[in-house]
Symmetry: C2
Subunit: 196 residues, 2 copies
């Protein structure tokens, strides 16, 4: 009642959406990926830096290489998922700031001249965008299966470079049979929110 | 067309939603905060760890203390915002894992016995939840004004403790006059997504 978003959308994005562990055979199309990106690219980031980068692992050969770096419990479902995405943080995102932040191009040199400052900002803001992406996958009527049980150093070496830090791997598709565990508990609002 | 989410909801959450720099006087109620939390608490996090903590800065006295630690350009709008939230990452979130992850309580000791591993996980997952929170604020028909231009060490000392790392401050309310800059550009899909 206090929300403006209609309840079907609430269910689609949060209440009924679940982390899927199995998927149907239905493919995830390029059109769906394009529509997801065209929606979630508007999610806010610091200085509009948008450091998230996405590697879609479509070929069977690349999928085999990826699962070598995943926790054993994540391998079979990742091999079977219609689409798999490696989400990473671009630590050199500041190079694009003059174009992304035309009213304040000097932000690039004022705040991000040093690599550690860039890495910190990139990690936080790519994580924000990873969440927007998960919401976007759900907005397409698909289930996401985000995973952090992985050898990320191995994934970085195999698929990325020194400037891109992987933050999660996401399986994407229509949910299959017995796709999820029972919903785990959440903290009560009093455990999360305090007022001063 | 490739999305299931209706276009009014797309607009509300992403396409027409904007980072607000001014707000109306209309208050943000506890009922709205409760509704936002009850929606976005379901957003997925690693091991269901849900490390985000939220400090609502409601009193005038606390608001004055907060703005001392914000970049000068962020001070006036933060004093005037109907509600301000400090979002932080709980680096001791693992203490709740036996309750939050009842089917795998040993995750607490297997993966999070060491503080650096906890801090890294907490930062990424609290950032995911910060994005869910921003989406939730928009779902309530409110505008969010997330800010990272701040002395976070000062904010931590003033409002939090050594176990809670602030990641952003968010102004919340109905947008006021001239609430936003023109939309800044986004990267094209080919600059963000590659396929292997």
């Amino acid at each position: 009642m206090s929300l403006v978003l209609d309840s079907a959308a609430q269910d689609l994005l949060f209440r009924e959406a679940r982390t899927a562990n199995s998927f149907s055979d239905e493919p995830v199309t390029e059109e769906q990926v394009q529509a997801i990106y065209d929606l979630v690219k508007y999610g806010p980031t610091a200085f509009n830096g948008t450091p998230l980068r996405i590697t879609l692992v479509r070929s069977a050969e690349a999928r085999e290489r990826l699962v070598q770096h995943l926790a054993e419990g994540n391998q079979a479902k990742t091999l079977a998922a219609p689409l798999v995405a490696i989400l990473s943080a671009d630590n050199e995102f500041h190079e694009e700031l003059p174009r992304l932040l035309p009213h304040f191009p000097q932000a690039k040199d004022l705040f991000f001249a040093e690599r550690p400052a860039r890495e910190q900002s990139s990690l936080v803001n790519a994580s924000l965008q990873a969440a927007y992406f998960i919401v976007g996958v759900r907005a397409a009527g698909l289930a996401a299966g985000p995973m952090t049980g992985a050898d990320f150093a191995g994934i970085q070496k195999e698929f990325l470079d020194d400037d891109h830090t992987p933050i999660m791997v996401v399986n994407i598709g229509k949910p299959g049979e017995d796709a999820w565990f029972p919903r785990s508990p959440r903290l009560s609002i009093d455990e999360v929110i305090t007022t001063v």
